[in-house]
């Protein structure tokens, strides 16, 4: 063999350390010190920024208060329309109360709420520091602090409602070990005391008025509305046990127990101690004394430029310019062709339940052979204002939204054919195929504003609290207190404003029905109303054992204990903090 060269060489041992400055000054962000330089900036960055957070939590996709409250109740649902909106059965399961600790919207709602609460706590600490510096009028700082506590109480009220046993965190410096779960009654007590405490410190101003300094902010009236909402549910929130049938089985079964539990509650506001039901009535009277009343026209509360309403108490400000928050609720609801008539696009989802239509006594006479001969009537004028029903229309004018190639060329919403799922239907029948896309009346209520820059931007503020809601809460409270005449009178105030005939008497069912007619899809209280009246766990026209459901969804199962009246603590929360335990039943 030839000569060969062998060379073996390299041995290297390196140990490297890199280092350089971590200072960065991104242009999209700025230093915290800059954010509190003047009194304006103190308000803007400790208080106003919190409202902007709060306003993004009400409506939109599915991890918000509206979805958790209304789409799990009995008035609205997102039907599986063949391939659309099935999404693994998510929305159908929400309606059928099929959720678990890993359900995404439940986790997101928890995280978002506590994230905003942490910002409230940070603002309170910052305001305390600013007060110590003495550079701002102490009374002004105190009123800011009352406002921030009001916002925080608002979040905690939802959390007590949804999750029952929640940790109360009030300091931005809390560590993981400081986060301990309160019982539901303790958490409720915290919210109650916070609201009662701040009421005297809040201004008597009009929160719904765009020209007011307190536009879309916490005022006395807003805090009273919060307290009314808390007090009406106090009989539920104050119970550490909720899964022994206390809130299941219908009105007749739970009414007496809930009324007694409300009677047993003591709430002290403005130095006056009352039981839960008396507190609701008191709050309604105080709101009236703050200058709120029913608007002459129901519709005016939802029109473009509804800031002048004397009825809206707290609103999510919305305009195409300053408060440019997107609201996809209507977009999620309308049929594609309907929105297309004014150049927008929509997703053909949300519809009213059959139960809601029956409550309205909606009459639908279909002529399947010629849909334009069909009639769609409802005596209650609130129905037409709340829903797009029958032929598609835009601001009252019928538009051509049909599909020419269909056997049924008209664009007509078929209300009573709405159901939770169409995805397992047989589509060989053209009528069946039509229903998949056109069943269910759709969301309207707020004036449709074709002049905005985008479909999801409106010029009508979204109502959070409204005086009519306070009247109906007071009606229930009066009924629970045994004052039948007062209860009936309150319901009739609401009815006569829309020209509906007076009723001679009321009970819990008729008050709940009136709330649906008055407030459908506008409030976020239907879930609470149903739990309190023992209806949340009950079967109805739209959900029952054996209900049609997508192959990926599950059947509705009757919950006799009531554990589903509270959502599970998200699994990610439990895995990251071993102090917390799961709610019973999950």
């Amino acid at each position: 063999m030839k000569k060969f060269i062998y060379s073996a060489v390299v041995l290297a041992m390196t140990s490297m350390l890199f280092g350089c400055s971590l200072e960065e000054t991104p242009l999209s962000k700025f230093d915290e010190g800059e954010a509190y330089k003047s009194s304006t900036l103190v308000y803007v960055n400790t208080v106003a920024s919190l409202y902007n957070k709060l306003n993004s939590r009400f409506k939109g996709g599915d991890d918000n208060y509206n979805y958790m409250s209304e789409f799990t109740a009995n008035v609205l649902f997102l039907p599986g329309r063949q391939g659309d909106w099935v999404d693994g059965g998510k929305h159908q399961n929400a309606f059928l109360h099929r959720w678990d600790p890993s359900t995404d919207y439940i986790r997101n709602l928890w995280n978002n709420s506590y994230s905003d609460i942490a910002l409230c706590n940070a603002s309170l600490k910052k305001l305390e520091e600013i007060k110590g510096l003495g550079s701002l009028d102490e009374a002004v700082v105190n009123s800011y602090m009352a406002e921030v506590r009001g916002i925080r109480a608002f979040y905690y009220m939802w959390l007590v409602d949804f999750f029952g046993r929640i940790p109360i965190v009030t300091s931005p410096d809390a560590g993981i070990g400081d986060v301990k779960q309160s019982s539901r009654s303790e958490a409720y007590g915290f919210v109650r005391d916070e609201i009662c405490d701040i009421i005297p410190m809040l201004p008597s101003a009009k929160s719904q008025d765009v020209n007011s300094e307190y536009y879309a902010r916490m005022t006395k009236a807003v805090a009273y509305a919060m307290l009314a909402r808390l007090a009406i549910n106090a009989a539920v929130f104050s119970q550490d046990n909720w899964n022994q049938g206390q809130f299941t089985g219908g009105i007749a079964k739970v009414e007496a127990g809930v009324t007694a539990a409300g009677n047993a509650q003591k709430i002290t506001v403005n130095g006056k101690t009352m039981n839960a039901w008396e507190t609701v009535v008191y709050c309604q009277e105080q709101i009236k004394a703050e200058g709120y009343e029913l608007a002459a026209s129901f519709k005016d509360n939802f029109k473009t430029g509804n800031e002048s309403s004397k009825e809206n108490i707290f609103v999510e400000p919305m305009d195409d310019n300053v408060h440019r928050t997107s609201d996809t609720q209507v977009t999620r609801s309308l049929h594609y062709n309907h929105a297309k008539t004014i150049g927008f696009s929509s997703w053909n989802g949300t519809a009213a339940t059959v139960h809601a239509l029956k409550v309205f006594d909606y009459k639908e006479n279909l002529d399947k052979n010629n849909l334009s001969n069909s009639t769609f009537e409802c005596e209650d004028p609130r129905f037409d204002i709340s829903f797009f029903n029958g032929p598609c229309s835009v601001n009252g004018v019928i538009v051509n939204a049909g599909v020419s190639e269909d056997k049924y060329p008209e664009g007509v919403y078929i209300g009573y054919e709405a159901r939770n799922d169409f995805s397992t239907d047989d589509y060989s029948d053209p009528w069946g195929l039509y229903l998949v896309k056109w069943a269910g009346v759709r969301i309207k209520k707020y004036e449709y504003d074709p002049t905005t820059s985008g479909q999801n931007y409106f010029n009508a503020d979204r109502v959070i609290f409204r005086y009519a809601d306070m009247l109906l809460l007071a009606a229930e409270a009066q009924y629970r207190l045994g004052n039948m005449a007062a209860a009936t009178e309150l319901v009739n105030q609401v009815r006569s404003r829309v020209g509906m005939p007076d009723v001679n008497g009321v009970d819990l069912q008729s008050i709940l029905d009136e709330k649906i007619r008055e407030e459908i899809w506008e409030t976020m209280g239907t879930r609470g109303d149903m739990v309190r009246c023992g209806l949340y766990t009950e079967a109805d026209e739209d959900k029952y054992v054996g209900v049609k459901h997508a192959i990926v969804a599950s059947d509705w199962v009757y919950d006799a204990t009531g554990y589903t009246t509270v959502f599970p603590i998200p699994v990610t929360v439990l895995s990251l903090n071993s102090n917390l335990t799961q709610n019973p039943g999950y």
């Binding site: 062998y6 041992m13 390196t14 995280n111």
Partner: protein, 357 residues
């Protein structure tokens, strides 16, 4: 802080600012320790040469975005350095020229890289608080119509390579009275029910990043002709065929399209299961080029020094057992390994004429 909206103050529009992430004042750079040993050699008058390299590398103070509990944190993630990761491997490169005469030549070269990656630890202490990560950290998910419950597919977890598949285990199909099939998965943890959480009924089923990368190239020359080729391959990994999963759901038909094979399969839902996990081994023929050099002397032209004609085919073929369109995907990147509508690289043909002046 960053802008989170606008408001009106004294009639003027003002932008509001809010904290937009959890602060961490202790943030620092990661530290990397590397040990490397190698041998370079050549023999037979440099007709055969090669290099062998072995390395061990450890990264400490690994930066990672931790999931933290809200409350007490403001947001769900915190960037902190606490983890440790190791990368060990051997790389071998060989070059040979067995034939080298005036009229004929053959050179061959190949290299192969074995690599082993392991996430040693991630947990640690931040500000006196133990920060444990979720045991199974999802790196990538895939979702489609009809599939929303826990869509995670690729994970990392302490003691395992980064980019590991953790999936529900296929257990045949369930057929309902109408003959429609749905996926069935194993009760891995034996608790009597099926939960698809990260911790639930799932198993580690192989890594997404190839354990071995190899390449081979050769050039053969005969008189004025030459032929060269290059092959690359990846071995020892898996690919999640999500494209087929998504397009095999008859339940979404006809709103969404399905594969022709879906009818035979007859499945009416979509669900992540190991049914769609396949071996990803592949060899790709990158190119084959045939060239002919015309010497200047034969042309008899002074101003042209040489002419070369060549025909080349790129991405000639991929040899693989994988059933999807292509096994060549982003499987070396964090969170890679999911075939979700990956389009194969195109085969191209090139004819070349080069003139040397």
């Amino acid at each position: 802080m960053s802008p989170n909206g606008t408001t009106t103050y004294n009639g003027a529009t003002v932008t509001t600012y809010a904290l937009d992430s959890n602060p961490n004042p202790d943030l620092k750079w990661e530290t990397k320790y590397t040990f490397d040993a190698g041998i370079d050699f050549s023999m037979f008058r440099r007709r055969f040469s090669g290099t062998i390299d072995a390395y061990m590398s450890t990264t400490r103070d690994l930066l990672y975005t931790y999931q933290v509990p809200v409350p007490p944190f403001t947001y769900t993630s915190l960037l902190a350095n606490m983890g440790e990761m190791s990368n060990n491997g051997i790389e071998i490169g060989l070059h040979a020229a067995p034939i080298e005469t005036k009229d004929m030549g053959l050179t061959l070269q190949g290299n192969v890289a074995f690599q082993k990656n392991k996430l040693v630890s991630l947990s640690g202490t931040y500000n006196g608080q133990d920060l444990t990560t979720s045991k199974y950290i999802a790196l990538n998910s895939a979702s489609c119509n009809g599939l929303t419950s826990n869509t995670n597919v690729v994970y990392m977890t302490e003691g395992y390579p980064v980019n590991i598949f953790r999936l529900p285990v296929h257990d045949g199909f369930k057929t309902d009275d109408t003959g429609k099939k749905t996926y069935q998965v194993k009760d891995v943890n034996g608790d009597g029910g099926i939960t698809l959480d990260d911790e639930g009924d799932r198993e580690f089923l192989g890594q997404a990043t190839p354990k071995v990368f190899a390449s081979f190239g050769g050039t053969f020359r005969y008189k004025n002709w030459d032929l060269s080729t290059q092959l690359n391959g990846g071995f020892g990994h898996h690919i999640y065929n999500f494209t087929s999963l998504r397009l095999s759901n008859l339940g979404a038909f006809p709103t969404y399209n399905v594969l022709k094979s879906a009818e035979e399969l007859g499945v009416y839902n979509a669900q992540h299961t190991s049914y769609w996990l396949e071996k990803g081994d592949y060899v790709n023929i990158e190119y084959i080029t045939l060239g002919y050099n015309l010497p200047a002397s034969k042309l008899g032209l002074n101003y042209i020094k040489g002419l070369r004609f060549a025909l080349s085919c790129n991405n000639v073929a991929t040899l693989t057992g994988y059933s999807g369109l292509t096994p060549i995907l982003n499987n070396a990147t964090i969170g890679g390994g999911i075939d979700n509508n990956v389009f194969p690289i195109m085969r191209t043909y090139t004819a070349m004429l080069s003139v040397k002046f």
